[in-house]
Symmetry: C2
Subunit: 596 residues, 2 copies
Amino acid sequence: MAETMKTHGAGTLRAADAGSEVRLAGWVGRRRDHGGVVFVDLRDASGVVQVVLNPEDAPASEADLRGLRNEYCISVTGTVRLRPGDMANPDLPTGEVEVVGTSMTTLSAAEPLPFQIDDRVEVDEAKRLQYRYLDLRRPAMQDNVRARSQTIRAMRTVMDDLGFMEIETPTLIASTPEGARDMLVPSRLRKGTFYALPQSPQLFKQMLMIAGVERYYQVARCYRDEDMRADRQLEFTQLDFEGSFWGQEDVLATLEEIATRVTRDLRGVDLDRPFPRLTWHEAMERYGTDKPDIRFGMEIADLSPVFAETGFNAFAGVLASGGSIRGINAGGLGLSRSGLDGLSARAQELGAKGLVWIIAEEDGTFRSPVAKFLNDAELPGIASTLKAAPGDTLLIVADETRTALEVLGQIRLEIGQPDGHDELAYLFVVDFPVFERNEDGDFAPLHHPFTAPVDVRQMREDPGHAISKAYDLVLNGSELGSGSVRIHDPIVQAQVFETLGISDEEAERRFGWFLDALRFGTPPHAGFAIGVDRLVSILQNVPNIREVIPFPKTQSGGDPLTGSPSRVESKQLEELGIEVRAEVRAEWAADEAAGD
Amino acid sequence: MAETMKTHGAGTLRAADAGSEVRLAGWVGRRRDHGGVVFVDLRDASGVVQVVLNPEDAPASEADLRGLRNEYCISVTGTVRLRPGDMANPDLPTGEVEVVGTSMTTLSAAEPLPFQIDDRVEVDEAKRLQYRYLDLRRPAMQDNVRARSQTIRAMRTVMDDLGFMEIETPTLIASTPEGARDMLVPSRLRKGTFYALPQSPQLFKQMLMIAGVERYYQVARCYRDEDMRADRQLEFTQLDFEGSFWGQEDVLATLEEIATRVTRDLRGVDLDRPFPRLTWHEAMERYGTDKPDIRFGMEIADLSPVFAETGFNAFAGVLASGGSIRGINAGGLGLSRSGLDGLSARAQELGAKGLVWIIAEEDGTFRSPVAKFLNDAELPGIASTLKAAPGDTLLIVADETRTALEVLGQIRLEIGQPDGHDELAYLFVVDFPVFERNEDGDFAPLHHPFTAPVDVRQMREDPGHAISKAYDLVLNGSELGSGSVRIHDPIVQAQVFETLGISDEEAERRFGWFLDALRFGTPPHAGFAIGVDRLVSILQNVPNIREVIPFPKTQSGGDPLTGSPSRVESKQLEELGIEVRAEVRAEWAADEAAGD
């Protein structure tokens, strides 16, 4: 092999290397010129080491030495030596040594940078994305990239060890009629027709179970064409897995194994197992959400019994119409009157008719705008149910039960959720309903229509209360992923479609090939998909998933680096049998005329 | 955990398990009814074991036992016992034992199958793809799926061990103006604009090098919209890797490591290293192709010197016009006159003006239609150059040198290439030209325009003979992949564009963001991409890559299982700002009117 360009990683040198000849290559960080001797912080993928370039040793021409600038890519040959004791830098892993350069070569010059490569410098995100190749040089971003790679590797190790095979499923698939969020790919060989990019490998992994594979996984790229406001990306990565002759407990045990391994590798922490579990119903009742953050209390309590006989018309009316009265103890908020009114406004914004606050005063009395409507039993009843201590602020919503729970759940988060993710609270939410009502009042599957109901007869007789074998993994208030035991019986599958109001003809047209497949000895099977982006962003304690995606899109789906998406020549579209609609072209023409 | 549905894999049971209670689950293969006792070959992902179901043990109702059909999915509880010595089946890993069922449950029935799950049954490929979930149950296909998974895992192990990080690059990228083979994805948020699916992660991996990552790899899905006649797929998988402060030797050593590991895991064979190398020029001269199959000789020889003074006008004319005369010794073909004429016709079909055959007779004379034009020195000269033995057939093409080489190279393959891939001959082809002439006579990059030339000055002065730092990995006459040392100097990159006739303005428009990136301290870097589909298909010794892709497309890009690609509602297209062109819709209408 030719002489290697690099014998050591800059960040790997230690006192034990003193005396060694090394050849390093990397980037020029901080430079100092001490009377002609140049000190360079040489940075590479492994870290940083100090390099001393003394013109007397003639490591390079005077011009080259003087010409060194930030982020020049250089190669240095030299000798490692111990720094004098008082010059050691305890903050740097290589701080006990430095490399005395005998030869320095500039491999590539760097123009002045749009921003400094320094974690302490705040840079506008648009600029960071435009120069992502520089942004990624920052140590924090290098760490995020490494953590993501480690996470996926840890996942694969667990799956491999458990006997799962990684199998690739297609990404040019059939568009489903309900695929409103499908991204489409026009076909050139069959003009005017389209492939869809997969929202998940769901049906293909079920095919693999029918094919007798038994243990499948894939780190799969998935696509969803949704508005990206909510910290989402058009493309995202999931660890997707499925097992045959498997049930919910097998899946949850596997998830614990995965989460524990990843958390240990990234955080050096061993998680307690089993993870806590809540049924969907408990999660809604206690936290007002199906993805509770259980790092803090402030649980929702049912105050309805306290008001069973109330004379306060607002509350009595809610109870009479089937709603309920829920409250949380927000603790010692110490808010001013206007702060408290702000909470009421926020509750209304979230969809509640209002929010009642009560302050438990130090003297045992209660202060509240509604105090005068409540009797002597009610105020202490609230305080006792919510375990109020002097100084606590109690917040109450009386509304339709679901609204009361969800609004308090959200306010609970806004008041109490810890910043960042130093603490990690994984939990499972199980026993999801099979169906929820959509805006039109029709039943829609809460997970997807291939999820097995716990009790088929109950599902048909009382679909609104039917429980499914679906489960989610939640971490610090974020849903990391969801899964279920799947339907393996074509008759049950047909019954679910029937309950959803899908006719046999429609089911045949939309899912015919899948229903066919179920008819050839489908094994019982179950699985899950974990979102990698979200998991890594939480474990890395960063504010959004773009920090852990090497080349993310902006919230409007653009890439400031490469300029995608972009217009293409109409000739190219013609070959695909499509064209840009006239009104869009007219808009472009108008923009151009306007000099835009 | 709940009681597991399965304690053992059917194929894992051995004599040592005799006496064990087991719970199995799998599919019903062959069944035999011996006087009421039912023998079932139970198959699961691990293999097959014989299960004995005796109605006297009442493992299931009589109806269930009698009702068992091929591919029913069943669960069996029972006891492993040794088969009587004369009943053992040495062809089966589990052949010494059988499981006596004490309980049998049908988990899923199977309708009559469209074809039998049996490697020995030939099934039409269209039907296999339509019922891929059944086709994949065949042991040979299970083995292909497993081999593919093992291959990718072995690749990852090597890359991980060498300190490479797996990093995901985007798959919704910028469409390049020359991206005639780009697949496009319309954007909903920016109507009328398009993403492209990547043909490779090339530019993003170079960005990662600029970002200081140093060691990147990815098992990447790539897309190329080409006619699929040549055993290709619209989407394919590559092991893509790149290293900074790296050169050609680093890449080739890494490739040897990968190929050796994969070959050992799949074939149990240890490859000799280093792999043979040919320069591109040698490969063309000796094999008439840049991807030679070196498992057999039949090398091309230059016969031009033999004919330096020839009186045979056809040959003299070729030499005078700068062409050459090349030949191969095809060995003892024993072809009839019409067989030999067939070879001439084939050579013409391949683009040669003709092909001359010469038979070396047992008596030392030569038989050939052109014998009478050749003098007493020429025939022995040919025979000596081609090392002809009595009975050998010698084939000669006189033409432009490139044509002569390519035609003989192809005929060599058609005559001599071994069937299948029992023997494996890896080699590297190095020192590719920087440019080739396209149909218009302009220079086009032979690899891609980011490939480093060996000598920049020579490239500018004599581009037609310039050599690049590009290299291919070849196995048994198939190119497994290619790579190069990349240009890391923006000035050199600009010079390559200039030689290609790309103006500064055009370079800026097409690659501006990339040229910008090169200006911030780009490290020297090099890399490679290996096609996974081709490699696995050769190692598995199957005739085409569809055999090693779980869910491939047909040659016209369709999926008979799910019906993709398909028409989508115009409302959905409207949201994307596009529509199907009027002439395509008119064709559809005409087809429908014609009852198609």
